[in-house]
Symmetry: C2
Subunit: 108 residues, 2 copies
DNA sequence: ATTTATTATCGTAATATTGCAATATTATAA
DNA sequence: TTATAATATTGCAATATTACGATAATAAAT
């Protein structure tokens, strides 16, 4: 029926999947990469740089905010979107924990 | 229009997003975790353990195979699904590279 | 050969995601 | 106050994903 049956999984499994899912779009990867190498990180720059409509970029930014990867500060009539480095490190750590605790293989 | 515009991104961005995307479902997380802690890793066990229909589990296993995380060996009329540890490590490394090269922040 | 057990595939319904135009909101500039 | 500029939100169309029943395919057992 197309709906993910979240209720049959643990909250940790759902949260982990949520992190992976939000990172699972090339536009969001591109946004993160662009922000990380710029001195300024204005939404309008992203529209030109990435080539998606302003509404679409805004939506992707919103999703990245839901997992705390980005924080936006108002600078006059512009927005400065920044990586939240603490959250970034924390997510990297969480994903590594998943990889390290899951790699034991039954057939090797 | 709802279709991801893959053509405007680099192949590296698309590949990275693809990895994240496939890991971005709780059923696939659960499958990986279950396989990693069992002595045997039979598809039918997963159906009972996870509580999704057999067709659905089979589909998720197929997706995990597309990024090489799982390999399946035929054992009589059963299938033994195993983690490909090399690929597992390789993907972990790739994701860490992404995290390490992207964390520089413009506003901090 | 027939049955049984296991997994894969097909078809389809329900829901989610992606993308954009139009519009709303917010803040500066004139 | 009225533009102007930047970003957010809404509404909608197109496509993708998720899930499952039905069925096919495969291999062992009888």
């Amino acid at each position: 029926m197309g709906i993910t049956k979240s209720q049959i999984f643990t909250s940790r499994q759902n949260e982990l999947a949520q992190l992976f899912k939000i990172l699972g779009h090339p536009a969001r990867i591109a946004i993160l990469q662009y922000i990380s190498k710029q001195d300024s990180c204005i939404c309008n720059d992203l529209v030109e740089e990435i080539g998606l409509a302003q509404a679409t970029i805004s939506q992707h930014l919103k999703e990245l905010k839901t997992i705390g990867l980005l924080k936006g500060e108002i600078e006059g009539k512009k927005m400065c979107y920044c990586l939240d480095v603490d959250q970034w490190n924390s997510i990297q750590k969480e994903l590594n924990t998943f990889f390290n605790t899951t790699k034991i293989n039954c057939c090797s």
